[in-house]
C-alpha cells in the first residue's frame, strides 16, 4: 500500500483493513522522515561516502521502525472486529481456569449481539497498570479490579460513576448480598458491579483430627477451643522439631492483618480515625505473639521453612502439616488439583467472638468490574458489565470459578450443581451480620502492609503487640490524615463532576 493511501485513510479516520494502523502523528512523522532520508541520501551519494551511507541507512531504518512501533502501540489493542462493531477493551487480572471461564463469558456476549465486540486481555498487576494507563489517557473500557482497591481509584477521579447506567438498566441493590453491593459504593456513588465474590472460613483436615483423638466432624467453636485442639494436634519429632501443628496464624497468612475481626475489632471508624490500637486488635496480636512464646521462634521458623508454594502438593495444609487454615471457596479447586486423593476435609465458620450469637465472622471480598475515566465507550462498556450481572451469566462464571453468586437469590439447583460441597457455608457467612469487608479507605494498601509487618514483628518477638500496634496507629493515622487532606482539596469538584455524570 502506498504511503499516500495510508495517510488518506488516517485523515478520513478509518482503518485500513489488514494493515497495521499508525496514528496521524506517527504517519506524518514517518513521511517527514522519509523525505529527510531521501534528501540525505542525495547528499551522501554526492559525498561518495559509501560506508557512511550504509550506516545512515541502517540507522534511518531503525529509527523509522521505532517511530512506527511507537505509533502502533495504541493500535495493537483493537483488532479482528467487524468494522461496524464498537470495540471495547476489557482488562482482567485472571489467568488459568479463571481466565478461561471469563473468556467464555466474553465470547457468549460477543455472540449474543452484533453491535459490540469485547476484546478480552489478561493483565497481571492490573491495579498498577490501570493506574498508569488511566494517567496516560489510554485506559481500557472495562477493567476487573479487586473491591478493596476501589476507594483509592475513586478519590483520585480515575473511575466513572455507574449510578445512572445502573438505574437505567434496572439494577437494584436489593438483588445483591448487601456486603457485596456496599463494597462497590464509595463517597455516595456506585463505582463497580461485582463479578465473583468470596468469603473465608475454617478448613480442617479430618484425618489429622482423627489421628489426634478429636472428633473429625466437629471443628472448634471458640478461639480457646481452637488452641486446645492445636495443642492436641501438635506433633514433634524425637529431636523436638515441629512436624504437625493444629493451626498457625501465618499459614497461609493472607488475612494476617485482619485477625482482629475475629476478636470483635475493626480497623477504622468509617470516617477519619484509624482504630488499629483497640483492645480487640491488641487481643488478636497478643494471640499471634502467643505462638512463638508457646512453640519457640526458631522451631516455628524451621517449621514454616518446610512449606512449599501454596499452589503445589507441598502446600502445608495438603501435606497434612497444618490441620486448620483460613481459606476461601477457591480452596476446593486447589484441593482437587494438589491434595492427595484420600484427603478428607471440612469447612465451617472460623471461631470468633460473634459465633455464639450467630454472627459468624468472615472477610468478604469480591472481584469487580469498573469503567475507568477516559474510557472510549462507557455506555457499551456498561452493557457488557450489565450482561455479566445477569443472574444466569453470573452463575455460570461463579460455578466455573468455584465461587458463589453475589446475588441474594440463586437459581434452583445452583448449590446442587456447585462442585464445592461446602459452598453453602460460604454463602451463609457472606450473608451473616458478622461479615466484614476490608476497610473502605484510600490508605488501605499501606495500612495493610503496615499490619502485615507488625504481625511479622510480634511473631519474631521483635516487639510486643502494644508496641507494634501503637506504631501502626500513629503512622496510619498520619497517612489517613494526609489522604483526607488531599480528598478535601478536590471533594467539591469531584462531587460536582460525579453528580453531573
Amino acid at each position: 500500500m502506498m504511503v499516500e493511501e495510508v495517510i488518506r485513510y488516517q485523515y478520513s479516520n478509518r482503518r485500513v483493513p489488514g494493515r497495521i494502523h499508525v496514528s496521524g502523528f506517527a504517519s506524518v512523522s514517518v513521511l517527514a522522515m522519509i523525505v529527510r532520508m531521501a534528501t540525505l541520501s542525495k547528499v551522501m551519494r554526492s559525498a561518495q561516502r559509501k560506508l557512511g551511507m550504509f550506516c545512515a541507512k541502517v540507522f534511518a531504518g531503525l529509527f523509522v521502525f521505532l517511530v512506527l512501533l511507537t505509533g502502533c502501540v495504541g493500535c495493537f489493542s483493537s483488532q479482528k472486529e467487524d468494522s461496524d462493531k464498537v470495540v471495547i477493551n476489557y482488562w482482567e487480572k485472571w489467568s488459568g481456569f479463571e481466565g478461561r471461564a471469563m473468556r467464555e463469558v466474553v465470547d457468549d456476549f460477543n455472540d449474543s449481539q452484533d453491535r459490540i465486540f469485547v476484546n478480552f486481555l489478561k493483565v497481571s498487576k492490573i491495579d498498577r497498570k490501570l493506574m498508569l494507563a488511566t494517567a496516560g489517557g489510554n485506559p481500557p473500557d472495562v477493567a476487573g479490579l479487586f473491591s478493596w482497591i476501589l476507594p483509592v481509584y475513586v478519590e483520585n477521579g480515575a473511575l466513572l460513576p455507574l449510578d445512572k447506567y445502573a438505574r437505567e438498566a434496572g439494577i437494584r441493590s436489593d438483588d445483591y448480598i448487601d456486603i457485596f453491593w456496599q463494597m462497590c459504593r464509595h463517597r455516595g456513588h456506585l463505582w463497580a458491579l461485582p463479578t465473583t465474590p468470596a468469603s473465608n472460613a475454617l478448613h480442617w483436615n479430618k484425618k489429622l483430627f482423627r489421628e489426634a483423638g478429636l472428633d473429625p466432624e466437629r471443628p472448634p467453636r471458640t478461639i480457646a477451643e481452637l488452641e486446645r485442639f492445636n495443642e492436641q494436634l501438635l506433633r514433634r519429632s524425637p529431636v523436638g522439631k515441629i512436624e504437625i501443628m493444629g493451626h498457625l496464624p501465618q499459614e497461609p497468612g493472607w488475612w494476617v492483618h485482619q485477625w482482629g475481626r475475629w476478636f470483635g475489632g475493626s480497623l477504622w471508624d468509617g470516617e477519619e480515625t484509624v482504630t488499629a490500637y483497640s483492645p480487640e486488635n491488641l487481643a488478636a496480636f497478643q494471640w499471634i505473639a502467643s505462638y512463638p512464646r508457646r512453640f519457640g521462634v526458631e522451631d516455628l521458623l524451621a517449621f514454616r521453612d518446610g512449606f512449599g508454594n501454596f499452589a503445589s502438593p507441598q502446600n502445608a495444609f495438603f501435606q497434612g502439616r497444618v490441620a486448620m487454615v483460613l481459606q476461601g471457596p477457591w480452596m476446593y479447586n486447589f484441593i482437587q488439583n494438589y491434595a492427595p486423593e484420600d484427603f478428607e476435609w471440612g469447612v465451617a465458620p472460623f471461631p470468633g467472638s460473634g459465633m455464639e450469637s450467630g454472627a459468624s465472622v468472615t472477610i468478604a471480598e469480591s472481584d469487580v468490574l469498573v469503567i475507568p475515566k477516559g474510557a472510549a465507550h462507557p455506555r457499551e462498556a456498561f452493557e457488557f458489565i450489565r450482561y455479566v450481572n445477569r443472574r444466569e451469566v453470573m452463575e455460570k462464571l461463579c460455578l466455573a470459578h468455584r465461587k458463589f453468586s453475589p446475588f441474594k437469590e440463586v437459581t434452583p439447583g445452583f448449590v446442587k450443581k456447585h462442585p464445592n460441597p461446602y459452598i453453602e457455608v460460604f454463602i451463609e457467612l457472606a450473608k451473616s451480620p458478622g461479615a466484614k469487608s476490608p476497610p473502605n479507605m484510600a490508605t488501605w494498601a499501606e495500612y495493610r502492609d503496615d499490619l502485615i509487618a507488625a504481625a511479622n514483628r510480634v511473631s519474631l518477638l521483635e516487639g510486643t503487640a502494644e508496641e507494634v500496634l501503637r506504631e501502626v496507629q500513629e503512622r496510619q493515622q498520619k497517612a489517613l490524615d494526609r489522604k483526607s487532606k488531599r480528598w478535601k482539596r478536590v471533594e467539591k469538584q469531584r462531587m460536582k463532576e460525579w453528580d453531573e455524570l
Binding site: A56, M131, T134, Y153, G253, E298, A302, G306, A445, L460
Partner: protein
C-alpha cells in the same frame, strides 16, 4: 564554516539527534519533573498540588524511610568490600597461566547472565532453612563447631530471620561478581610484566607483588568497579522484591522485621502501591544525593591513591 563543514555538522547532528532527543526526554525531563513533583502532593492521577518542602519535612519523621536508608547502607557496607575481595581474588586466580582458564572464566561469568528474577527465585530456595543448599553445606561445619567448642549453633532460616536476611541477600548478590571479575581481569592483564620481573629479582613474593605492583597499577579499575558497586548496592530492588514474593508472602515486602526494606523498595511502594508519587520523588532525590555524595567522597578519598600511568 565552509559548506563541507556545515554538511558534516548537519550529518553529525543527525546521528547524535536521536540520542539527544532520548536523553532530554528520558533522562533530563524525568529528573526535572521529579524535582518538581517532590515539592507536590501528587498521586499520578490527580493534578499535582504544590506543597513546598512538606514531603521532605515528612521524611525527617518517617521511621520507615530511615529504616530503609539504614538497611541500604548496611547492605552496601557488606556487599561492596566483600564483592571487591571475592571478585579481585577470583580475577587474580584467573590471571594465572592455567590449563582451561577460558572455561573457568566462562563459568565465573555465567551467573551474571542469569536474569535478576531467576536469581532471586533460585536463591530463595538455596537459602531455605530446611531444604536449602546453603544450610546443607554449612550443617556439617555447624555440627563440628558445636561439638568442638560446645556451642548450639543451628543453620538459620536465612530469609525469615531479621539478623540473617541481609546476609543471605549479600550471599546471593555475590553470585553475580562475574562482571567485576572480567573488568579486573582486563586490568590485570595490562600490568607490565617487567615490573614483576624486577620485583622478583629483588626477591618479592606473590603477596609483595600484589600489594606493591598489582593493586597500584589496577587502582583505576578498582576505583571504577567500586563506584559501580556503590551505585548498584544503593539501587538494590529486584532480588529482595522477588525473594519476598512482591509482598505477597506472610512477611510482607520488607521481609522479617522489615530488614529487607531498601530505599528503592520504599520508593516503589510509595509511588505505585500507595499513590504517593510526590513523596516517592522526594525519596528518589534523597537517594540521588546520597549516591552523589558518596561518589564524590570516594573520588576525593581515592584522589591520591589511584595511579594513572598516563597522567
Amino acid at each position: 564554516m565552509t559548506a563541507m563543514e556545515g554538511k558534516r555538522l548537519r550529518i553529525g547532528l543527525l546521528f547524535i539527534g536521536p540520542w539527544i532527543f532520548g536523553f532530554l526526554l528520558l533522562s533530563v525531563y524525568p529528573v526535572v519533573a521529579s524535582l518538581y513533583f517532590s515539592l507536590c502532593d501528587y498521586s499520578v492521577l490527580s493534578r499535582p498540588v504544590f506543597i513546598g518542602w512538606q514531603n521532605y519535612g515528612d521524611l525527617v519523621f518517617d521511621e520507615l524511610f530511615w529504616k530503609s536508608l539504614y538497611n541500604t547502607i548496611v547492605y552496601a557496607s557488606l556487599l561492596i568490600p566483600l564483592g571487591f575481595l571475592v571478585s579481585f581474588a577470583l580475577a587474580l586466580m584467573l590471571n594465572f597461566d592455567l590449563r582451561g582458564k577460558g572455561v573457568f572464566r566462562a563459568v565465573i561469568f555465567l551467573p551474571s547472565l542469569v536474569p535478576m528474577v531467576c536469581l532471586a527465585v533460585i536463591w530463595r530456595w538455596m537459602l531455605n532453612g530446611e531444604f536449602g543448599l546453603v544450610n546443607t553445606l554449612i550443617s556439617p561445619l555447624a555440627t563440628f563447631l558445636n561439638a568442638w567448642i560446645g556451642t548450639d549453633f543451628q543453620p538459620p532460616s536465612w530469609l525469615q530471620e531479621a539478623v540473617y536476611a541481609k546476609l543471605g541477600l549479600v550471599l546471593a548478590s555475590l553470585w553475580c561478581v562475574g562482571n567485576a571479575v572480567v573488568i579486573y581481569l582486563a586490568g590485570l592483564q595490562d600490568v607490565p610484566r617487567h615490573l614483576y620481573e624486577a620485583a622478583e629479582i629483588d626477591g618479592a613474593n606473590f603477596w609483595h607483588k600484589t600489594r606493591h605492583i598489582t593493586i597500584p597499577v589496577v587502582s583505576p579499575v578498582i576505583y571504577f568497579n567500586s563506584i559501580m558497586a556503590l551505585i548498584g548496592a544503593f539501587q538494590v530492588f529486584a532480588v529482595p522484591y522477588v525473594m519476598m514474593r512482591g509482598g505477597n508472602g506472610p512477611d510482607g515486602i520488607g521481609g522479617p522485621d522489615r530488614s529487607l526494606l531498601f530505599i528503592s523498595t520504599y520508593i516503589y511502594q510509595n509511588a505505585f502501591d500507595y499513590w504517593n508519587m510526590g513523596y516517592a520523588c522526594a525519596i528518589g532525590l534523597i537517594l540521588f544525593l546520597v549516591i552523589l555524595g558518596l561518589t564524590l567522597l570516594a573520588t576525593k578519598i581515592s584522589a591520591n591513591r589511584v595511579y594513572y600511568a598516563g597522567s
